[in-house]
């Protein structure tokens, strides 16, 4: 469920005017920006951008980019974009890093719905004049490349039907592939990147029933083996995305790993989806509400913005 608190009716012209006012003169009224944008959903934000453009012949996003800075600017920029466009930007940033952020690419390709992923691919082409898969292919090598290209190219069947015999046989294939350390990567990649999500969950459940432990535990290994790490991420994203995001948040707050953008990324991308459930999971797991930890860990406008997206009343 979404966490943002959105009014039933919004006047996009008034919102555009309010944002203009917040950006005029010396300094910027960040609180005003947060109080408008932090309480609008994607459709509304799009209308506000159109209204702003019409009124002031200027791209709202460019204006915000020039007025804001730091983590706050990054968060607002990502928030204001269309979800598909946002994912395209996140993917491109992840790909172009010296050492690409595989997990971000896996996150996007495995937690979005098939239609959403198609929209991301379209948005990526519009923005970067390349296909997402060709850029992923050009910046990765070996088995990781095979896995990532397959994951971003997938257009999974979206139905509920499960073939239990197939789940059984593919659970066995996965088991054999994993157990044999000289790994048959081809079959694992085939199953993970082509099967529907429902079918995969049935397969993972079957695996757990047969083997007594979850497949993610069996995939724990050397953190140096990036293919293994990527596989594990993919399985976790496909199997239980909320649990996956909770862990990403937890690690980010504890400063485990090097994913500095994780906090912004998860909150911005999930605020209109399932951040409520992720928050609940976090609270259960850590005996502390997520808002409290975010409040302690961040400061200033960035903190205020994140808390607004988390649904906290000002």
């Amino acid at each position: 469920m979404a966490t943002i608190d959105v009014p039933h009716q919004a006047s996009f012209l008034e919102d555009a005017e309010a944002l203009r006012k917040a950006c005029q003169g010396w300094g910027t009224d960040e609180k005003a920006i947060i109080s408008v944008l932090g309480h609008r959903n994607a459709a509304q934000r799009k209308q506000i951008r159109l209204a702003y453009e019409e009124l002031y012949q200027e791209d709202l996003i460019k204006r915000l980019e020039s007025e804001l800075s730091g983590d706050f600017e990054k968060a607002v920029y990502r928030w204001v974009l269309d979800p598909a466009d946002r994912d395209a930007v996140l993917a491109n940033v992840a790909i172009k890093k010296i050492s690409p952020d595989h997990h971000v690419i896996i996150e996007i390709s495995c937690t979005r719905s098939p239609e959403e992923l198609l929209a991301v691919r379209r948005a990526y082409q519009a923005r970067y004049k390349h296909s997402l898969e060709e850029d992923v292919a050009a910046h990765t090598k070996g088995d990781i490349r095979k896995l990532l290209v397959a994951l971003v190219s997938a257009f999974r069947y979206d139905g509920e039907e499960i073939n239990t015999r197939l789940a059984n046989s593919e659970a066995n294939i996965l088991h054999d592939a994993i157990k044999d350390k000289a790994f048959n990567h081809e079959e694992v990649i085939r199953i993970l990147s082509t099967r529907s999500k429902m079918q995969l969950m049935a397969t993972f459940n079957r695996y757990r029933d047969d083997q007594g432990t979850s497949i993610t535990k069996k995939l724990l290994g050397e953190s140096g083996d990036e293919f293994l790490v990527a596989l594990r991420t993919a399985v976790r994203c496909l199997n239980d995305p909320k649990k996956y995001f909770e862990k990403v948040l937890r690690n980010s707050i504890k400063r485990i790993g090097t994913d500095e953008d994780a906090l912004t990324r998860v909150i911005v991308t999930r605020a209109e989806k399932d951040l409520k459930e992720i928050k609940d999971l976090y609270h259960k797991r850590n005996s502390m509400p997520l808002e409290q930890v975010v409040a302690k860990d961040t400061s200033g406008d960035y903190k205020a913005f994140l808390l607004t997206l988390l649904g906290k009343e000002d």
Binding site: E133, V149, S153, F155, Y157
Partner: protein
């Protein structure tokens, strides 16, 4: 006799001459038909039990020729997405000799047309194309075919010429090392062919020619669907001409004849090639099938 000649003619060529058959057979009495059978040695054989028996293979071939008009009509009526999804599914089920159809569709449709076919496939078969192909195909073609149907290629004109040049070299090496590793299984070759835009691949094609003195398709002559892939992506007109030529010959096999229907129905541009196609069609096709195909060619519009 005149009727026998007419009957034989009605069953020669691609399709059947329905009108001719009506005028010959509708009023034909028992004796007349007997004399037709006795004269038609290609179709009938004297059975030891005292009757003229139809060849088994003729039954099968007649079925195919009568079906041709029907299949052309249905194919042209279907929404292109459903049509392509069904063509791919059939080709996959029929086996390796038919995989070139999958290549043809994946590589000659636009990015959005291919996407549409993938959506239609979901609706028709409750699976994604890639999962069915990946689990159905066990041979060396699997990786290439799955990658080709999964592509959503950029369709703009922008090409990075340096990259195209280096990728031409990569392909050249993959082909040179064919004895160590089948080019169709070369990861880099698959990546290039399945992710790059068509304008980019055309630039790669040009660079390859400059580097190697031969075209990629010439060097891939022995490589089956890998050759088809390059042809469909870089020189589709050549590919379709080749397919049509193979179909419009006197002893074309069934697959080539089916290709004729498929290509004429699905390719608008080809139909505008004046003279060549209509002339050959007049000579080799017959009946309602001929009329329908000629109509499609003449109209030039889908």
């Amino acid at each position: 006799m005149a009727d026998l000649e007419a009957l034989i003619k009605a069953f020669s060529g691609i399709g059947v001459d329905e009108n001719s058959l009506i005028s010959i057979l509708a009023n034909s009495n028992h004796e007349h038909k007997k004399s037709l059978r006795k004269g038609y040695s290609k179709f009938f054989i004297e059975d030891e039990n005292g009757f003229e028996r139809l060849h088994q293979s003729t039954i099968k071939n007649l079925k195919l020729e009568f079906k041709r008009f029907r299949d052309a009509v249905v194919l042209s009526l279907l929404h292109p997405w459903e049509r392509d999804a069904r063509l791919i599914e059939k080709a996959m089920k029929k086996g390796p000799r038919h995989y070139s159809v999958i290549v043809e569709i994946a590589c000659t449709r636009s990015s959005n047309e291919l996407l549409g076919a993938r959506k239609a496939y979901h609706s028709l078969f409750d699976h994604s194309i890639e999962e069915d192909l990946a689990s159905h195909i066990k041979g060396s073609e699997r990786k290439l075919l799955v990658a080709l149907v999964s592509a959503y290629r950029y369709e703009g004109p922008k090409v990075n010429d340096d990259v195209a040049k280096s990728e031409a070299e990569i392909l050249s090496n993959a082909i040179k090392n064919a004895d160590k590793r089948k080019p169709i299984e070369d990861e880099d070759a698959i990546m290039i062919l399945s992710t790059r835009s068509k304008p980019h691949l055309q630039a790669v094609y040009e660079h390859y020619n400059k580097i190697c003195g031969k075209t990629i398709t010439e060097d891939l002559e022995a490589e089956g669907i890998l050759k088809d892939t390059v042809e469909c992506l870089c020189t589709p007109a050549t590919y379709f001409t080749r397919v049509l030529d193979a179909a419009l010959t006197v002893d074309a096999d069934e697959e080539s004849k089916k290709a004729l229907t498929r290509v004429i129905v699905t390719q608008k541009e080809l139909r505008e090639k004046e003279g060549y196609v209509p002339n050959k069609i007049q000579g080799i096709l017959t009946g309602s099938y001929k009329d329908f195909i000629l109509g499609l060619v003449a109209r030039g519009e889908n």
